[in-house]
């Protein structure tokens, strides 16, 4: 690498830096700072210090929504790991075994990723319609009548239903990530294991899974961040009020509803306070992920 003066390189770096800083980095900082103000989006901004946070955590109208959202998001995250990440790992492994046509299946499983979330949500709404929805009719037809229910209208099932649809769409990404990590494992390692008599399952348990630790960390973090900021699925299938009875309310919808005012006038400061909570939670997760990386690197002696 050459040493060059900073000024020579500035014109190369400046455009990217300018766009990135002005429309991504700085807005994030300033948006979080808005939590210290009361603002309805049009009028003046009134400095209230931590007033919004006090309101958020102590007024029951707000803190019930907040805790509801936290619980729901945690459930949401668990569902995604259950319905998306674990099946993705298994499917990736099966594809990795390289049966004939595996590539075709891999490409097929990725298709839903290319669709727009909001459209998948709409299709999901139509599919799960309790009266004439194809899914419910299909379940009835094959005799699984207990699966024929108003998924989106029942507070007990709505969140799971949405999580399953979300997993349906995005399972392609962890599949590809796991697959590429598996393909990076040196062949000799696996061949040696086979020569020593290991079955494919054994190879999976004792070689693939441990070596997949970093990728699994990435997948989990990405899922977490996506869950805690996402809102399109719920918006498409239940609207910004995240019914029924807030059963599907997650941080994304709570934030949007408060900051942009779906039923009341916008309360940007309070919305920003919610965003600060989201930011802190996500940062904690990222920090945990970094510790995890450090831990397994030590364990594997890297």
């Amino acid at each position: 690498m050459h040493k060059k003066s900073f000024w020579f390189l500035l014109p190369y770096i400046l455009p990217a830096l300018l766009i990135y800083a002005s429309f991504m980095a700085l807005p994030l900082f300033f948006s979080l700072r808005l939590s210290l103000y009361n603002w309805n989006g049009i009028g003046p901004k009134i400095y209230v210090g931590f007033g919004n946070f006090v309101k958020l955590f102590t007024e029951s109208y707000w803190n019930t929504q907040l805790w509801n959202v936290i619980v729901n998001n945690i459930k949401f995250f668990i569902y995604f790991n259950l319905f998306q990440n674990v099946p993705a790992l298994i499917l990736a492994w099966l594809i990795f075994l390289n049966l004939k046509g595996s590539v075709f299946f891999r490409n097929l499983f990725f298709i839903p990723v290319t669709m727009s979330i909001i459209m998948v949500g709409f299709v999901g709404t139509l599919l799960l319609n309790p009266i004439w929805g194809p899914f419910n009719n299909l379940m009835k037809a094959i005799g699984l009548d207990f699966m024929n229910r108003p998924w989106l209208g029942d507070p007990k099932t709505a969140l799971v239903a949405i999580a399953i649809i979300g997993s349906w769409q995005y399972i392609g990404i962890p599949i590809v990530l796991f697959l590429s990590a598996m393909e990076n494992i040196p062949d000799e390692l696996i061949e040696a294991a086979h020569i020593d008599g290991a079955t494919d399952l054994g190879v999976f348990r004792y070689i693939l899974v441990p070596l997949l630790a970093p990728v699994f960390g990435i997948v989990v973090v990405l899922t977490f961040v996506g869950n805690f900021t996402g809102f399109e699925f719920v918006y498409a299938m239940e609207g910004p009020m995240a019914g029924p009875s807030y059963a599907t309310d997650i941080f994304g919808t709570f934030f949007y509803r408060t900051a942009f005012g779906s039923t009341a006038s916008p309360q940007v400061g309070l919305g920003a306070a919610i965003a600060v909570c989201m930011f802190i939670i996500i940062s904690l997760m990222i920090f945990a992920w970094l510790r995890y990386n450090h831990w397994y690197q030590q364990k594997l002696g890297i």
Partner: protein
């Protein structure tokens, strides 16, 4: 015993290195199981898309009475309504415009910056690099509140340019993540040879770097394309009039209008979902490579 026999048969049949690829007869049962799993997942993946497409060709009555079966006759009224009353072409035009501009800007801006960061040592190189990379995981959504002020201050409310700038900002981190390591790997001898021929700085960039990273530019283009084309959140916040809507927002609006008219709703969804799917099917290798690029370095 069986293991040794199959070892022997591969060695004789194929003198290349031992293939741990299990396609032998004794694995037939297990293979069948794997295919069953694949077929099940294939059904799961295809079913909603299948329903969406066949329903777009059925009349509303048929959708109610026969939701899972194929259409009796091809019914095109939904498509007609979508195009005639649905201002679909406008949404398409806007999405294409926004996405294209975003891709061009990101490619331009990120290759320049990646060249500087990848090729030259200077104070703050690492810091800048990490600053860019942080954007991959930072949730930009949270910044929308201030973005709203910025957009309004720039007079870009209800203007596609606002979307272009935001999506470009979103595309830069991933582009840097892919391009910088690539540029760092350019062999020094190549650079030395070029410099001996009098090439340096901009010339180096133009004649050596760009051709070498061209394939990855395709990957970057794809990774920028998907979020820009499919995003719903920022149009929802920044776009108000019909003429300025991109596809996701337009579809959401139409869906609201046609929610009772199921056939048209499905037609709208089908038309809107097809372009990225077709694009993906044509370039599936590049797509998958793009996502994999994210983990190869990880």
């Amino acid at each position: 015993m069986a293991k040794v026999q199959s070892l022997v048969s591969t060695k004789i049949g194929n003198l290349k290195t031992l293939s741990w690829n299990s396609k032998h007869f004794r694995h037939a049962g297990r293979n069948a199981l794997i295919y069953i799993v694949f077929l099940f997942q294939s059904f799961v993946v295809i079913y909603p898309i299948f329903i969406m497409i066949i329903s777009s060709f059925k009349s509303n009555l048929e959708i109610y009475k026969n939701p899972n079966g194929p259409p009796q006759n091809i019914y095109l009224q939904g498509y007609v309504k979508a195009f005639v009353r649905g201002t679909f072409l406008i949404y398409f035009r806007n999405s294409i415009f926004v996405t294209l501009c975003t891709i061009v800007i990101v490619l331009l801006v990120a290759s320049l910056a990646a060249y500087a960061l990848g090729r030259y040592k200077f104070r703050g190189n690492s810091t800048l690099y990490f600053f860019f990379l942080a954007g991959i995981i930072i949730p930009i959504r949270l910044g929308v509140l201030n973005l709203f002020e910025v957009v309004r201050a720039l007079g870009l409310y209800n203007n596609l340019l606002a979307l272009i700038l935001i999506y470009s900002a979103m595309g830069v981190p991933m582009a840097m993540f892919i391009l910088v390591p690539l540029i760092r790997q350019i062999p020094q001898d190549l650079v030395d040879a070029a410099e001996m021929d009098g090439c340096s700085g901009w010339g180096l960039f133009q004649h050596i770097v760009i051709p070498l990273i061209r394939p990855s530019l395709g990957t970057v283009a794809i990774l920028t394309f998907l979020p820009a084309w499919n995003d719903f959140f920022f149009p929802l916040v920044f776009i108000k009039t019909n003429e300025m809507m991109t596809l996701p927002l337009g579809v959401a609006t139409l869906f609201g209008q046609f929610s009772q008219d199921l056939n048209t709703a499905f037609s709208v969804l089908t038309i809107a979902s097809l372009p990225p799917i077709l694009f993906y099917l044509l370039a599936s290798r590049q797509f998958i490579k793009g996502i994999m690029a994210g983990s190869l370095k990880g």
